[in-house]
């Protein structure tokens, strides 16, 4: 194996090396375990930077799949399953997001996870390999394996280190996702056997799937992805999973795992089934729009901070879906950027919520209030992250949401949304107002107003609320930096994805014209 010609293999499986290393460290030496896991995840991050930027192996101006690693793998009974990894502009940012969020999450568990540290870290690194695998796999079968593989560590992360109803939440998460995946597996097998290959780029090139069959395959894939996203009304597992998951689990769940769904749409559904995609576009847009409005409205009525953020994810990912199915460069690029933004902003929100939860052990709004005075740094960082989440211009959320809505409006005018037209974009823009309502409500209830009873409650236990320490600031600082960077100067991010996005969108502008 030459890591210089196949660096994605190194990147994807490097965390497994960390797992091996962790196995040799006794469970009692918690700090050694933490440092090892952190070091491994940081090295993974450095490797990802090296692979895409420093090594010169990746050409960002090339729209095609690059860094290809392709070997025959399982070739029996006419099945042609390959070990096939590659990356392009659609996945590179998500890969980087994964490698960035993992060390951050690990650092955030420093004091939060005291039980079974070894197992926790092992699961975490396994999860990283799984997620990276999903983003780089270009063989449907290999993709499916990674896809299911991510479930297992997450199941245990929720089920072992979660809150009081963790078993229920973990099981629901697992069953829900499995249920969707089974349909996808059938579709994958159909595609692989009919097409003679499981390779995604090859299948896309072959094309020629009859429209009515495309439709069914599209639905089968969409079932798996829509549950993962989650699209309304399949979101019921998300609040449970988020509320019960430990902080780091929530961060990864919101930051990366949900993106597996949206990524699946853009990587498989849209290019593999172009005709079905065009047919489905307004329907998906409808669900996305309902999700945006519904998620925002329901968020406002929550009394639990984590639940509020969980429902806000439903709303935010509605934007992503709306942008993806606008099928023009603005919508697609905005959606991909919004995936990153959501990972950063919501990840940071969960981190911050975890930090306050560690001190107060409650997530109920009604006991909070006036925290800004006691915790000015925390309050300010929380404000920045909240504003980013509600899409304040100059911060990252705006760039994504704006381009998405712009793209959706264009799709409404150009006829991609062949019914509904611009109404999807117009109604979704209402979500901008509603986001302001629930985000500001959350900020007000926590940080403004008279001092909440939680302050005295904490004092009763002999502590007093402290502001963030340096470790916590270090955890959150990279995300804050990215929030400003993407908001003010998103050009490097757009440049990375633009060639691939344009290529994908081009196929649709032509196809759309041919159909109408």
């Amino acid at each position: 194996m030459n890591f210089f010609t196949e660096p994605l293999t190194l990147l994807t499986f490097f965390p497994l090396l960390g797992v091996l290393l962790l196995l040799f460290i006794p469970g009692g030496q918690k700090n050694a375990l933490r440092w090892t896991a952190l070091a491994v995840s940081l090295i993974t991050f450095v490797i990802s930077l090296w692979v895409f930027f420093l090594s010169g192996l990746y050409d960002a101006s090339n729209p095609d799949l690059q860094l290809v690693a392709r070997h025959p793998w399982i070739q029996v009974a006419g099945w042609n399953i390959e070990y096939h990894l590659a990356a392009d502009g659609l996945s590179i940012l998500l890969i980087l997001l994964t490698t960035l969020l993992t060390p951050i999450s690990i650092l955030s568990t420093w004091t939060a996870v005291e039980e079974r540290v070894k197992e926790f870290m092992v699961f975490f690194l396994l999860l990283e390999t799984g997620m990276l695998g999903v983003f780089v796999a270009q063989d449907l079968f290999l993709f499916y394996i990674f896809w299911e593989f991510t479930l297992v560590p997450m199941y245990f992360l929720i089920g072992i280190w979660g809150g009081p109803r963790r078993i229920y939440a973990a099981l629901k998460f697992f069953l829900y996702t499995m249920a969707g995946s089974i349909l996808m597996l059938l579709a994958i097998l159909w595609l692989g056997i009919q097409g003679g290959t499981f390779s995604v780029p090859q299948l896309i090139e072959q094309g020629g799937i009859p429209a009515n069959i495309q439709w069914w395959l599209f639905i089968a894939f969409a079932a798996a992805f829509a549950i993962k996203v989650p699209m309304w009304p399949l979101h019921s597992w998300l609040p449970d999973a988020h509320v019960e998951a430990p902080t780091a689990g929530s961060v990864i769940l919101a930051g990366v795992l949900l993106k597996l769904g949206t990524y699946g749409f853009v990587r498989f559904n849209i290019p593999l089934f172009p005709e079905a995609t065009l047919k489905a576009a307004p329907w998906i847009a409808l669900l996305a729009t309902i999700g945006i409005i519904y998620g925002a409205a329901v968020s406002y009525a929550q009394t639990d901070i984590k639940k509020l953020v969980a429902y806000s994810s439903v709303s935010h990912l509605g934007f992503v879906m709306l942008g993806l199915f606008a099928l023009n460069p603005e919508g697609l690029a905005g959606a991909i950027l919004q995936m990153i933004n959501h990972g950063i902003s919501t990840g940071a929100l969960f981190l911050l919520v975890g930090m306050i939860y560690e001190q107060t052990h409650t997530r109920e709004f009604k006991v909070y209030g006036g925290l800004w005075k006691l915790m000015p740094v925390f309050g300010t960082l929380y404000l920045i992250v909240s504003l980013s989440s509600m899409g304040l211009p100059g911060l990252n959320g705006f760039v994504g949401e704006f381009t998405i809505l712009l793209g959706a409006w264009g799709a409404g005018q150009s006829g991609v949304f062949y019914w509904g037209g611009v109404w999807f974009a117009a109604i979704s823009a209402l979500g901008v107002i509603m986001a302001a309502i629930y985000i500001l409500y959350m900020f007000q209830k926590m940080f403004m107003g008279p001092q909440g009873e939680v302050v005295d409650e904490v004092k009763k236990h002999g502590h007093s609320l402290r502001d963030l320490n340096w470790r916590e600031i270090a955890v959150i600082a990279p995300l804050i930096l990215l929030i400003f960077w993407i908001g003010l100067y998103p050009a490097p991010f757009f440049d990375l994805m633009a060639p691939s996005v344009n290529k994908l969108a081009e196929t649709f502008s032509a196809a759309a014209l041919a159909l109408r």
């Binding site: 519904y294 611009v422 008279p450």
Partner: protein, 695 residues
Amino acid sequence: MHLSETISSGFLFLAPWLVFLPLIGLLVNIVFGGRMSENLVGGIASAFSGAAFAVSVLLAYSVSLAHGETLRWTLAEWIHIGDVSLDWTFRADSLSTTMMLVVSGVGTLIHIYAIGYMHEDVRFKNDPARFRRFFVFLNLFIAAMMILVSGDSYLMLFVGWEGVGLCSFLLIGFWYEMDTLARPSWSNSKAAVKAFVANRVGDFGFLIASFIMFWAFGSFQFDAVFAKAPEIQTGVILAITLFFLVGVAGKSAQIPLYVWLPDAMAGPTPVSALIHAATMVTAGVYLVTRSAPLYSSVPEAQNIVALVGAVTALFAATIAVGQYDIKKVLAYSTISQLGFMVAAVGMGAYVAGMFHLVTHAFFKALLFLAAGSVILGMERGHHHLAHGHGGHHGETFDPGDMRNMGGLRKTMPVTFWVYMIGTLALAGIAPFAGFWSKDEILLDASHHSQAVYWLLTIAAFCTAFYMGRQIWMVFFGEARHEAAAHAEESPKVMTVPLMILAALSLLGGALNLPFDGFHNLGHWLGHTLGEVEALGLNLQVAGISTALALLAILISWLIYGRKPLAKNQSDPLESFGLLFKGMNRKWWVDELYQFLVITPYVKISHFLADVIDWRFWHDWFHETVLLGAYNWASAIGLNVYADQKGIDAFANWLGAATQRLSAATRKVQNGFVRSYALSVFLGVVVILGYLLLKP
């Protein structure tokens, strides 16, 4: 010629520093402010704001050297994807430099004033550590406002547009843990959220307008849009302009979104002066003026804008009459004056609107700051009392309530005189600044639409009346509260900016006198907006408005001045009954919105969250239907085969079959190592036998 071009482009590179300078100021204060004295913190903030003013002057100079050419300076790329190409481009032309000068000039004066004001304010509220935060926010506001006025595209304008909204939120909620009377309460923070949300409703309109614009014009850049405007259907432009109007209504506090502005008075008084009177709220007027080529091409939109402005002007003026709080009066007055401006730009009288914007920035900032001085004077008096008489703390004292004041002209002479100047300017008495600008608007209205003209004229009458009422109640008569009797004049750091603003309010009319050769502002803005025929002084219009203003002041003297209010005496206007009550209760608009919008929204979202999402979808559908169906199916399955009931569904349904299968095979798995070994051995023998017997 060549020399001037060199110079102008030589200064142009400073354009981004309009934003950077205040940002540097706030960073310095964030990083080092904790160890610096209050004066230094305030001084640094003021200095960087002043530096932004200097840059504005240089830019304006560059523009004038370039004979009003539009100058651009691109700092960096912003959003480039698909057909979108947006840059961080700064724009200097006569319109934007005018706004820059007003914002940074008035802003700097208010910064200086705030050093003195906040020094006392943070002590009255027992949190001196918050002094620094105020100036950080104030500098942030200047930076955001500069982005708003200097952006070269609608989207960059929007960045500033929302940025100032954020600063407004932060500063209204500056004392987030109390109400305006410093009691622990949610009310200040509620006002802050209300302001932001109302602004966001407006931003929604702005967003929609920008979407339509992009797909029709293919650009967000001002000149590109204007150049293409003649080719576009008027229906599209009408939609764009009307959606922009929604944004204007949010930001410039017009009907129906004005409700946040009165509540915004929860912020410290310099904030009310800077953001909620002089600069931010005029952003809507700036937007309409900036989009002049669009509005001018659709008269329908212009009529609607003018009507909204005029109705707002009168509506808010009536409410101002019924207020007791000194700042609330000024707040409604601001809404009313913004109505004047919006009406003016709606009628296409962009110069008049901008002229009024400038003069209003002077005299309304002056009035607010002077009101702040009055409030602090009352606080000082009250503080003095509390210490003198050993504890007055039981009662809540409202230093902003005009019924507590009276006779302050003796104790606060400087404040009194500048307040008088501001009042006369606002009431529109010649030769104060407000007279000239308001008269120009009225004159345009008389040419344009009688309805708008009369609405505005009546509003002007009300304006003079409520300002007269205020002057008599606050400064004349006898003190109606001991705090007023012991009020003290403010220090120099506050009064000097007041005096400068008073001078500007007095002389600001000189910018654009209605005489030939004096239309300075008109010519200046003409570079950007196109030359318009300057109107002269119309004696009829001027005469009517002046006479009405004088009449209003006379009436107010008859009611409040001739026989001053005594202690605990109720307002004579209360004899008007429901009419006054309506004015005092703001025509119940807040209650109406509560009933029509807020309560339904809260109810719907709770219904969706609790009933639909949780009880129906999460609990009933998932727990009862899905899980129940599963349990039921597995119970049926078990009944048939094993006649077992009520055991855990999952284990049974899947397990029962497995169990029977395993029951047969479990005998093999007996746990005895030897028997396992035997089976291996058996395997060996059998395989060997097979190999041997194989043919």
